[in-house]
Symmetry: D2
Subunit: 249 residues, 4 copies
């Protein structure tokens, strides 16, 4: 399943960029191209490509997913337009071992809600406010190369309660200028796959140009690399017992 070269697909909804001048001004080539550029900068040996909602099968064919080690997902306005078939396909690949990095408003994507089984709800506010992300697990691979915290001068606020299963590892917790807190970096394993939810990334701010955010994404992609072997998860009938079973009366 894994190859020596890390193969990353950056998926972008790619809608806001075409209908909102403010977003287009920050990300004229689309958010996905900036996220991909950040990964290429920090992971020069990785193969990083992009895919968008508008492509056939949203750019996520069976064949392409079969050769993807880690997928990143940004969506917001068009969650409902993602085909259920593609969502099922992505879920299957995650359970086989593909890593998945879910970004910001992707908390409400079909794929994240399906993998979590919960509402993935939260509170929110758009008010140009400061976010400070604190590292609460300094030894975690995703936190390497960061200081004790980093700041984003303007972001959308997300607040608790975050309607997700208890994270297996908590990497970041955010402080917001307006008074809220949020579990901003949450790790999960599902089947053979590793999942990381990372909060920042509102479309009207240059968050994906930020050096610390880029460091987090590169670390997360490395962390989510699939295991060497694939779990063929087919509910097999173990017809022949390993031990003798006494016939019952």
């Amino acid at each position: 399943m894994a190859s020596s070269t890390l193969r990353v697909v950056v998926w972008g909804e790619n809608v806001h960029e075409h209908i909102n001048a403010k977003v287009a001004a920050v990300y004229p080539q689309g958010m996905h191209t900036v996220i991909a550029a950040g990964l290429r900068e920090l992971l020069p040996t990785a193969e990083v490509s992009t895919a968008t909602l508008q492509e056939a099968e949203h750019g996520l064919t069976e064949a392409r997913l079969a050769e993807t080690d880690v997928l990143t997902w940004w969506g917001h306005k068009a969650h409902g337009d993602v085909s259920d078939e593609v969502v099922a396909r992505v879920q299957k690949r995650v359970l086989e071992g593909m890593g998945l990095i879910v970004l910001h408003s992707g908390h409400f994507s079909k794929i994240f809600k399906r993998l979590m089984g919960t509402t993935c709800s939260l509170t929110w506010r758009e008010a140009d406010e400061k976010e400070r992300l604190w590292v609460c697990n300094p030894g975690h691979p995703i936190a390497q190369g960061l200081g004790p915290y980093f700041e984003l001068p303007r972001e959308e606020m997300y607040g608790e309660p975050f309607g997700v299963p208890p994270p297996e590892e908590q990497v970041f917790i955010s402080w917001f200028e307006g008074g809220e807190v949020f579990r901003s970096g949450c790790c999960y394993t599902r089947g053979n796959g590793k999942i990381f939810y990372f909060r920042p990334g509102h479309e009207t701010y240059p968050t994906y140009f930020d050096a610390n955010v880029r460091r987090v994404l590169a670390n997360a992609v490395e962390w989510a690399r699939p295991p060497a072997t694939r779990w063929v998860d087919c509910c097999p009938n173990a017809k022949n017992p390993l031990e003798k079973i006494t016939p019952k009366g």
Copy 2:
């Protein structure tokens, strides 16, 4: 959400009992009636009723679920016949706080797979074999009143790997005569709801007459009682910040 009287609905697929003479011989009135009788015996103050696949809306209308504290679920042959609408409704109620006890082959039910987000796969064998369930968490509410282990003389085997998220609490692990092991009692929280998966209960064996199994189910139903208050999980806009936000440039 919670009432002082514990209101339990025992859901049964109720198919094997009508087409398999062996099952009908063990459970002539249906497996659900025996599961319900066990709960009534040990929880005399609870209100225990049953619902089946064949009823309108599978017996799980909005109104009834709104007045259900804990739902138990046994299904096997007809998972695909459960309507997606009812599954979504049950999931919503679990996230609001309703307890859910998933039994045996219910590991592959739509509702369990949806709440777990994983394949819920396992290995299996039907060979009249002995199962011994070990308590690995003696202080857990679900293990109260049991000895260090209990046995079922004949059961279907389920073996690892079990394709579920890491359980939050592990209450039982099974030893099988044929050589396998299985995580037979797994606890989860999802939203406000508590979920317990309990392995035994193959339709051709009198498992739901067993005193220890009945004790586990009664304990689990008590454990899964909803919290006093309901989480209205609506992704609210926290428009008015609690703290002053400095206007940015």
Copy 3:
């Protein structure tokens, strides 16, 4: 182990109150008396008593602990004066099933560090600052009866990283006026015992008079009630196997 009446012992270091006029002004009878009064108010059927460092065996004799269901612990200045023998005794009782509620600066107590196995370190600041505790698990028993958050107008700050094992359940996360966040309500099980760490409670502030804090403490004490049966944890030799073992060559 458990009795129908909940028996709570509130342990207080009881040092600051006698040497610091500011503390004495807030808690003239000692912090422990105010904590105990809050529990008595909200749990009228519980038997609540107090114990202090200065008593023989710190008021925690074998006999008394044997009849204690839940112990609360506040210490700061004199952690080193608590005898190792009493600490070992308390640890043993927690592993048998006694609940333990560790308060504020108790994060550095011998008993908490011994049960966690980690440094239990954090960052801190005394600056009369506002703390806002957010509920991130609204269905948790410890959060019942609270709103989405509550505030303490003046508290000491504790900040991440908090050097504890990953909490099994996260009930509260704090926002601080000065810019930090902290995992303020953390649940653990150790052996048969339940442990809750609750952050607020600096000695110079009237925190233990606060209605929300009192609600949390009463809920936590109820939540930490021991299971009905006691795990006799003696590393027994299971000399006689349950299954026949084939003699090897």
Copy 4:
């Protein structure tokens, strides 16, 4: 903290080998030398050395531990002879990031009990019985290169309940010929350090010559490699707030 070359110290109690002819026959140069040989075979670029109880400071001086990435620990008969000072030193290094692999009867070592905070008790039997270890987490780094299970023809039995905190990841569960089960591969993080407990390894059996056991140990040592940066965990006073604190009345 980490170096590019993985530096492993294999610690052996080294007592049974000198007083029990049966053990000496299997491990004439000591168990630690065989464990070290297995690691050298599978991790040819690692620097693997050994240390024993009998050496000054048990071979674990401050200087040596400072240059150790991962420590493996086998002890049984002489747990009480390990100096508390050395135990505190090892614990400190684990919390800083050093990996720790605890083997078999090391479940009752001072260092494991101190890091877990619990009794670490279990049930046991010496009866030349077969153990079968099932992989319950096929995607875990420690399970790579193994089949769905592996067997040891003769081992001591360890049974549930195992008195440890809930494992963060469960890699193996054992089936025993005599009828018990055991959580045989348990992962923990404590501070920056990773801890893996691995059950097999009774001194009278050639377990550490087994190819699957050697694969597990090599995988575990790789998995437990320290993070790149060190958490200086000193409970710092964050005297200067990042945000302005309003002076209170």
